[in-house]
């Protein structure tokens, strides 16, 4: 059963009503075609109202939709010859991150992404897409290998955050994230990062130091979850909706703040409506991104990477 989000209930109800009328027309002699046509016009208008004017909180719900396509779904659609590679060679294999090699339009690439599950069983296996240090170290191992063999790296970002657990701290969660940031900064191959769901803080960033960062329209990227922000700043986690607005976490917000390069449009109603069609939208942006980055020399890429991140932020100077 498709999960329905609160804000899209009117759309779904109307759609069901139309289906019901169509069934009646078919099964009985009643001619309801006029009514159906009217309702269909109304549905179109309603869909526009609902989906084209999503509030930040609606997008948070979309980004967290249980059926939202994951890294592995997009890997299936976008790459050929994908081979998954496991383990960090130090401690274990963290299934909250998938990584491997494959081809993008015939060219070798390394692909890495957070991986959540779509049901409880898979979520337990994937730790709800919240990595431990070994996940980040596996990712780094694959990235350094990509650098060695001169393969571009494509990262899919989709996590609530790095796992806040005892074992994670003991094994150096901070160091694992920090190491990825500083090492990614120095890789000479093109790195393209695409936020496909939730971009949760440092846990997302650890796969996020790219030459280009793109976001699916209904994905989010933030320093803290709206619930966390509300609890921390207003001591009231029920204020998550307003925190979602205040914290500026949508793709359009991040574009405006000059943090990301492109917003990848989503099909109406969300990426989960049609993975293939959504993958086409990603493909379009990925292809031009790749061409642009591969045209640059290694030195230019590194210099541009520095300039990209150096300009993020806002400050002013006092007259001293």
């Amino acid at each position: 059963m498709k999960q329905i989000l609160d804000f899209e209930k009117p759309v779904v109800e109307l759609r069901e009503k139309i289906a019901e009328l169509k069934r009646l027309t078919k099964e009985s002699d009643m001619d309801l075609n006029d009514e159906i046509a009217t309702l269909e016009t109304r549905l179109e208008k309603l869909e526009e109202d609902v989906y084209d004017r999503l509030r930040p909180w609606d997008r948070v719900q979309m980004a967290r939709h249980p059926e939202r396509p994951t890294t592995l779904d997009y890997i299936d659609c976008l790459f050929t010859d994908f081979l998954e590679m496991h383990g960090d060679r130090l401690y274990g294999d963290d299934e909250a991150i998938v990584s491997g090699i494959g081809k993008y339009k015939g060219e070798p690439v390394t692909i890495i992404g957070h991986q959540r599950g779509k049901d409880t069983k898979e979520n337990i296996r994937r730790n709800f897409g919240m990595p431990h240090p070994e996940g980040y170290r596996k990712a780094l191992r694959l990235m350094k290998q990509a650098d060695k063999f001169n393969r571009p790296i494509i990262c899919f970002i989709d996590t609530k955050g790095a796992y806040p657990g005892k074992a994670a701290e003991e094994r150096g969660q901070s160091e694992a994230i920090a190491r990825n940031l500083v090492e990614m900064a120095g890789l000479s191959v093109p790195i393209i990062c695409i936020v496909i769901g939730e971009g949760g803080s440092g846990g997302a960033l650890a796969l996020g130091v790219g030459d280009h960062i793109h976001m699916l329209e209904n994905s989010t990227y933030s320093v803290i979850s709206p619930e966390g922000a509300a609890a921390l700043l207003w001591k009231d986690s029920n204020q998550a909706q307003s925190a979602a607005e205040t914290m500026k976490i949508t793709s359009y917000d991040l574009k405006q703040l000059h943090v990301i390069d492109q917003v990848i449009p989503e099909i109406r109603g969300g990426a989960h409506r049609d993975v293939k069609q959504q993958a086409d939208h990603i493909d379009h942006v990925l292809e031009s991104s790749m061409a642009e980055l591969q045209a640059l020399s290694k030195e230019d890429r590194l210099e541009k990477r520095w300039e990209k991140y150096k300009q993020i932020g806002d400050y002013t100077q006092l007259d001293l």
Partner: protein, 286 residues
């Protein structure tokens, strides 16, 4: 009487009256958060905010640090007038910044610059937890990145003393991206053979712990400092068990292989100088 000294009867100090309390000028005395003993503020300052009784390391402010670590008059400050804006129009943020500027006398939560340690020059950044809990927003990120970059250009080592609750919530994702900005700067310094020493002091958590603090060529920490990625309460809620008392302390990190050394504050100058000295011959040929 002499026998009073051997009596097991507990003696209680008389409580000073309210009037007597008011006779003591505010701020003259300071209580050790570790053991509760009360000291003259000046006495603790002279001892680098280390309790003579229990060895608790209380927070030092950035200028006390500079005075305790570097040669007199060798300090040159960078980006001193850089201040935060309110990029997300976050409610009450400007007011909070203004309040902390008044309270601390600082313009932001980090002081950066260049100084000498027994004649050996170094670039540095010292965070100050009195300003917005040392949290990292655009200014902290920019100042640290500039200081690392300037150290690279001048072929200087870079030393950072961290004291921070993590990313600054009021600047949202811009704060998060300062983790990247500082990391790219450190990578550039590193690529040219630059030395980077990180000294974690109480507290070093969240986004600061998960970026520059943890990736020094040498990672040092002061005794008893709180260092970690996720908050203790969040972890306890997640795993539904009580964490040991020493969880996320410097000593805990040392035990788990995350630190090179835990260094007593009184020894910090000597240890840092030794590291700088050892690296002198390997780096700049001049």
């Amino acid at each position: 009487m002499l026998k009073d000294f051997f009596s097991k009867k507990k003696k209680y100090a008389p409580m000073p009256s309210k009037e007597a309390k008011q006779d003591i000028p505010a701020g003259l005395m300071q209580k050790c958060p570790g053991c509760g003993k009360i000291y003259y503020r000046k006495e603790l300052k002279r001892n680098m905010q280390v309790c003579p009784h229990c060895d608790h390391h209380s927070q030092m402010n950035a200028y006390e640090r500079i005075e305790s670590l570097f040669d007199p008059d060798s300090f040159e400050e960078w980006d001193a007038g850089m201040i935060s804006t309110n990029p997300l129009n976050f409610p009450d943020y400007e007011m909070k910044l203004e309040k902390d500027r008044k309270k601390s006398g600082l313009n932001e939560a980090v002081v950066t610059g260049k100084a000498e340690m027994e004649g050996l020059p170094t670039g540095f950044a010292i965070m100050d937890a009195r300003f917005r809990m040392g949290s990292m927003g655009s200014v902290v990120g920019e100042k640290i990145a500039n200081a690392v970059e300037e150290s690279r250009k001048q072929k200087l080592p870079f030393i950072i003393l961290t004291a921070s609750g993590g990313a600054r919530m009021q600047e949202g994702v811009l704060s998060l991206m300062q983790m990247t900005k500082t990391s790219v700067a450190i990578q550039r310094h590193h690529a040219e053979g630059g030395l980077f020493i990180s000294i974690m002091t109480h507290p070093t958590t969240g986004g600061v712990s998960a970026s520059f603090a943890s990736i020094g060529d040498y990672n040092l920490a002061e005794p008893g400092a709180l260092i970690g990625f996720a908050g203790r309460r969040i972890i306890e809620q997640t795993i539904r068990e009580k964490l040991p008392d020493d969880f996320q302390t410097s000593e805990f990190l040392l035990k788990h292989g995350q630190l090179d050394q835990v260094v007593h504050r009184h020894d910090l100058h000597k240890v840092l100088h030794t590291i700088l000295d050892i690296h002198q011959s390997g780096g700049d040929s001049s």
